[in-house]
Structure formats: structure tokens, C-alpha cells
């Protein structure tokens, strides 16, 4: 028995306060995941870094606008009009999303690699499942505990850019498509869901977060590397021709179309393809600058969404098969 302490009455007293009904415990687990994520400084650093394209774009817009205002007469205004005329607003979100892929991966690893693996190591299930929780609560809680911070991280930069654009560039067509931002939200939700499901599924296979993280990063980079390498090799063989597009143009040869599809056969590519297909764009040059590069056309919407959902289901199924509630008492 303790001899002394800051709390005077050290004898055991029963708890006579309220107890919530024994349902929906997944939210307690999810909330703990969210709290732990938000406490990490690295999470906010990665979030800030993932905003770089939007910040640069805002700076470029701001600079051009100021320059136009300070230039004499109609010349400045015409220059600004020409610049802003080249900008496809929805493509800026696509670029912001595309350029932040690596940071989304880092965030997914930071939040999710240890989510189940570390619990396996520390046998946290013994505690969690001995409470009025079951396997569904645990998996749903872990999933949401990764998904919500990841979605928040993916949402903040484009949301800031959207607010900035809506306030400053309404007259330049920023809000012309009222369905754009809801569609982009779907992209973010699906993107976060794909990362979350895969990282949770892989995490459940290990009992060390580092191993799970290395495995997910390995899959991510290997798929990305080989698809990009093959695309690049084919491009090189075509001599990087101008005019018809650097890839020679889809439709010019069946192989060109195949290479265009290959571009999306990776986690990174799939998410960019999702964005293009849902938002409805093939993309355009970054920062509104003229470019000879023909963007890779958007993949078919239905196929891309189905592939993303299949990956989500596969990740969750792996985790589901690995979590064994009955092992709570060995």
C-alpha cells in the first residue's frame, strides 16, 4: 500500500459516476489516435510543407497582380490578364495535390505505420478488447484515428488556397464551377482512405511500426519507380518530340495509350489519376507558365475509383484477418 501521496485519501473507492452504454467504442480509439497525431510537431511540419505549391502559387498571383498594378497604363493589366488567362484554377488544386504526394506518404507512415504494429508489440489489444469493445471497434477506431488527421492534413492547404482564391479571384472565374470543391473533397477523402487502409493493413502484419513503415514505403516507391522508369524509357525512345506532345499523343499509337495508363499504376499515380478523373481535367502546366509538355490524360473515372476502393477493401481485409479478439487472454 502506498505510504504517502498528494491525494490524501488513498483507500480504494468504487466508481459511482455515469458509464456510457457499451456501444460505439471505436470513437474513443479514434479520438486517441487523433489526439496523438495532433500532439506531434512533425505532423504540423509535414502539413505546412505539403502546402508549398499553394503558397508559391499565392505568392506568384500576388506578385503578378502587384506588378500589373504598378505597371503604367493598360500594359500591366494586359500582362496580368494574359497570365491569369492561362491559369486553369482546378488544375492548381491538382498540382498542389500531386506535388504533396510524398508528404502525404510521410504523414501516412507517421500516423499509421505503428497504429496496429506497435499495439501488437505492446499487446495493447489485451487492454482494449477486455473493455466493451470488439474487433470492429478496434479496427474502425484505428482506421479513423489515421484517416481523420491525414484528411485534415490534406485538406488544410487547399482549403486556405480556395478561400484565398474565392476572396481574390472571383472575377477571374475562380468560382465558375460550383461543384469543383465538393469534387475535390471527394478526391481528398478517397486519397486519405487509400493511404489509411493500406498503411493499416500493412501495419497489422508486423509488430514493429518501423518495419511496417519500411514495407509500405517500399511498396510505394517500388511501384512508383518502375512505372515512372518505364514511362521515361519509352519517352526517351520517342526522342521527347515536341508538337504532338512529349508522349507522341494518346491515340497516335496503342503503345502510347498503354504508357499513359502505366503512369497511374502506383499509389502515387493512382491518387493523381483519381484527382484528374473526379475533378475532370487532364492537367495543365504548373504556375500558369507556358509549357510544351502534354499532360498525361485522365484515366477512366469508374475504373480508377473501383481500383481505389478495392485497395481500401484489401487493406482493411488484411487488418481484419490479423486482429484476433479471442487472443485477448492467452
Amino acid at each position: 500500500m502506498p505510504e504517502s501521496g498528494l491525494i490524501a485519501d488513498l483507500s480504494y473507492r468504487g466508481y459511482d459516476g455515469p458509464l456510457l452504454p457499451p456501444t460505439h467504442r471505436w470513437w474513443v480509439i479514434a479520438r486517441m489516435g487523433v489526439r496523438q497525431a495532433f500532439r506531434k510537431r512533425a505532423y504540423w511540419v509535414v502539413t505546412a510543407l505539403s502546402a508549398w505549391y499553394y503558397l508559391v502559387m499565392m505568392a506568384v498571383l500576388f506578385f503578378f497582380e502587384r506588378a500589373a498594378q504598378s505597371a503604367p497604363g493598360a500594359r500591366g493589366e494586359a500582362g496580368f490578364e494574359a497570365f491569369i488567362g492561362r491559369i486553369v484554377w482546378k488544375d492548381q488544386f491538382l498540382h498542389g495535390f500531386g506535388f504533396a504526394q510524398l508528404l502525404y506518404l510521410i504523414a501516412a507512415l507517421m500516423l499509421g505505420a505503428g497504429a496496429i504494429a506497435n499495439d501488437n508489440r505492446s499487446k495493447a489489444l489485451l487492454v482494449i478488447l477486455s473493455k466493451p469493445c470488439d474487433k470492429r471497434d478496434y479496427l474502425a477506431g484505428k482506421w479513423m484515428g489515421v484517416f481523420l488527421p491525414l484528411l485534415t492534413m490534406m485538406l488544410i492547404p487547399p482549403l486556405v488556397f480556395f478561400v484565398y482564391g474565392a476572396l481574390s479571384y472571383r472575377d477571374y472565374g475562380f468560382l465558375d464551377n460550383p461543384w469543383f470543391f465538393p469534387k475535390f473533397l471527394i478526391v481528398l477523402v478517397l486519397g486519405a482512405a487509400v493511404h489509411t487502409s493500406l498503411v493499416i493493413g500493412i501495419s497489422s502484419l508486423f509488430d514493429q511500426g518501423r518495419l511496417a513503415g519500411a514495407s509500405y514505403a517500399g511498396i510505394y516507391f517500388l511501384t512508383n519507380f518502375f512505372t515512372q522508369l518505364m514511362v521515361f524509357a519509352w519517352l526517351a525512345s520517342q526522342g521527347f518530340r515536341r508538337g504532338g506532345g512529349l508522349r507522341g499523343g494518346a491515340g497516335q499509337s496503342p503503345f502510347a495509350e498503354y504508357v499513359d495508363r502505366l503512369y497511374y499504376v502506383s499509389i502515387d499515380g493512382l491518387l493523381i489519376g483519381l484527382c484528374k478523373a473526379i475533378v475532370g481535367t487532364d492537367g495543365s502546366p504548373q504556375f500558369g507558365m507556358p509549357s510544351p509538355i502534354r499532360p498525361v490524360p485522365a484515366p477512366p473515372l469508374l475504373t480508377t475509383v473501383l481500383v481505389a476502393l478495392a485497395l481500401c477493401a484489401a487493406g482493411v481485409a488484411v487488418a481484419w484477418s490479423r486482429i484476433r479478439a479471442v487472443e485477448v487472454v492467452r
Binding site: R13, G14, P18, N118, S122, K123, A124, R330
Partner: protein, 303 residues
């Protein structure tokens, strides 16, 4: 009754882990004993609602083990045998989290976490990351997370595992204190019979998937015929002979004699003292003979 189990049968494939097991677990502190593979673990799993019985049924705290697993686990606190914690949390956060999982509102869970950690003797160490704890501290935090929501029933699986003698004493004191006069019923699953004997009032012995013995420890230790153990200062063949002449059965083990004689304990004691005086034997100790818990256990397992 804390738990009532009738003809409980649990199978893992073709292997029958619990075979028509019936038990009545009374209030208070109960020891769950049994050799390895006897079915203790399966019994705890089933009582927590993790396993669906192939036959029979039962209730824990009045709740059906087949259909009310969640409700049972809300009223039960489990202290697992193995080390377990939530990575990245200190003891207060860990225990508060356990409280929230059990259904406590956040603020109350946090307040209560401080209380039970202080009660379990973690003091200021409760602000440290659990991963830095010693074995004894980990045992205490496991007890704290099991107690945080004020369970009506505590299931303690090998609670003194890995503890040094002092830590073991302190843990047993904690268990004894919680289980007596605090309204918390406790089931202790342990291989350490002295620990069980120290804190428990009742035992349930499980062997080969069946309950082979159950009841109050004091009753189980009683030997049929209520013999009396007498400790003599020195050997006295005259005393033994005189007692046998009175119709007593006397078994000698060194200076200790186990005497069986018709009559109440008081009558037999009076006869013993009278005979000792007459034969010049010097009695240094006299007690109603009892079996050890180990003896009870071995007999129950052999049965």
C-alpha cells in the same frame, strides 16, 4: 452469485476445452486453480464473452455470456498476465483511456485515473511513459486500468508474476484490500497456491475441462473426522499408548501426532490434556488438523 455456469461446453475444432463445466462462483475473492491446459483460460475467455459455448450457458453478474459480452466487459476489469500497454502514453493517459473505453466520460476518467494510480502506489511515476516502467510498476498499472471504471468483478491473471518478494507482498495486500469490504468481487487465476490462499476465500479447481473441486478454502481444508494435531516437547510412547487405549487413532510424524477420536473438538482437547497430564507428556501445540491447499489441489486434479 458472481457467476453461474451450467454444463458449459467449449470446443476448438474437435478439441473440447470445457466439457460440461458447471460452477457457481460466489461473491468475494475466488481462486481459479488448475494445471496448465486445464481450461482456466478458456473459462475466462468464455466468461468475458469472447467464445461462444457449443453447449450449456451461464451468466456473469447476471448477464448472459452468450449474448451480453459487451455488457459483461463493462462491469468486469481484466488484469492480463502479460505485460501490456498503449504505446506512447504515460500511466495517467493510459488508465484514463482504459476508463473511457469502459464508458467513463473523459473528465471523470482522467480524475479517476489519478485516484486509482495513487491507490496502486504509482505516485509521481504516473506521469512517466509506461514503456520505462519496471515489472512491478507494470503490474500495478495493469491493476489500475482494470480498476479504473469501478468494476463489480476483477479478473486477475497471475497478478504476482515477475514480482520480487516485497512487490508480491504489496500486490497481494492491494488485492486483499480491494476484495474485502470494497464491494469488488475478485477471481484470481494463479499457479501460486500460497498467493491464492493468502487473498482468496473460495477456490474453483478446473482440471481437464471440468470443475473437480469448488468451495470455501476453510471448508475444503477440513479433514474428515476432524483430527487434531498435537505437538509434543519430546516423544512419549506412554501418551500414545494411553490415547490408543481410549479408542483414538494416532499417527505419529516425529513429535507431531495426528489424533482421531470420537467427540467434539472441545471434548477431544480435554481428553488429550487429561491424558498428557496422566502420562507426563508435555504438549507444546494443539490444533485442528487441516489439509494444505496444495493437498486439496492435488487431490482435485487427480480426481
Amino acid at each position: 452469485m458472481v457467476a453461474s455456469l451450467q454444463n458449459l461446453t467449449v470446443r476448438y475444432g474437435s478439441f473440447t476445452a470445457l466439457d460440461s463445466l458447471s460452477a457457481e462462483i460466489p461473491e468475494g475473492c475466488v481462486g481459479l486453480l488448475g494445471p496448465n491446459g486445464a481450461g482456466k483460460t478458456t473459462l475466462i475467455k468464455t466468461m468475458l464473452g469472447f467464445l461462444t459455448p457449443a453447449g450449456g450457458g451461464g451468466s456473469v453478474l447476471g448477464l448472459d455470456i452468450r449474448t451480453q459480452g459487451r455488457e459483461i466487459r463493462q462491469k468486469v476489469g481484466l488484469m492480463p498476465e502479460q505485460d501490456c500497454h498503449i504505446p506512447g502514453l504515460n500511466a495517467v493517459q493510459f488508465v484514463a483511456f482504459a476508463g473511457e473505453l469502459a464508458g467513463m466520460p473523459s473528465e471523470l476518467a482522467l480524475r479517476r485515473a489519478h485516484e486509482v494510480l495513487e491507490y496502486c502506489g504509482l505516485g509521481e511515476a504516473r506521469y512517466r511513459n509506461v514503456e520505462t516502467y519496471s515489472t512491478g510498476m507494470k503490474q500495478r498499472i495493469k491493476l489500475a486500468q482494470a480498476l479504473v471504471h469501478g468494476p463489480s468483478l476483477l479478473l486477475l491473471d497471475e497478478p504476482t508474476n515477475g514480482l520480487d518478494p516485497r512487490g508480491r507482498e504489496e500486490m497481494l495486500d492491494l488485492i486483499r484490500s480491494v476484495s474485502h469490504g470494497k464491494g469488488v468481487n475478485v477471481i484470481v487465476s494463479s499457479h501460486l497456491l500460497p498467493d491464492v490462499e493468502r487473498v482468496c476465500d473460495h477456490v474453483v479447481v478446473v482440471s481437464r475441462g471440468k470443475v473437480t473441486e469448488q468451495g470455501a478454502i476453510a471448508r475444503l481444508k477440513v479433514i474428515e473426522g476432524r483430527p487434531i494435531d498435537i505437538e509434543l516437547k519430546e516423544e512419549s510412547p506412554e501418551f500414545v499408548r494411553a490415547m490408543r487405549d481410549l479408542g483414538a487413532t494416532v499417527e505419529a510424524t516425529g513429535l507431531v501426532l495426528r489424533v482421531r477420536l470420537e467427540g467434539s473438538a472441545e471434548q477431544v482437547s480435554a481428553t488429550i490434556f487429561r491424558t498428557a497430564r496422566q502420562t507426563g507428556a508435555q504438549v507444546r501445540g494443539l490444533a485442528v488438523a487441516q489439509r494444505s491447499l496444495e493437498g486439496v489441489f492435488e487431490e482435485a486434479v487427480r480426481a
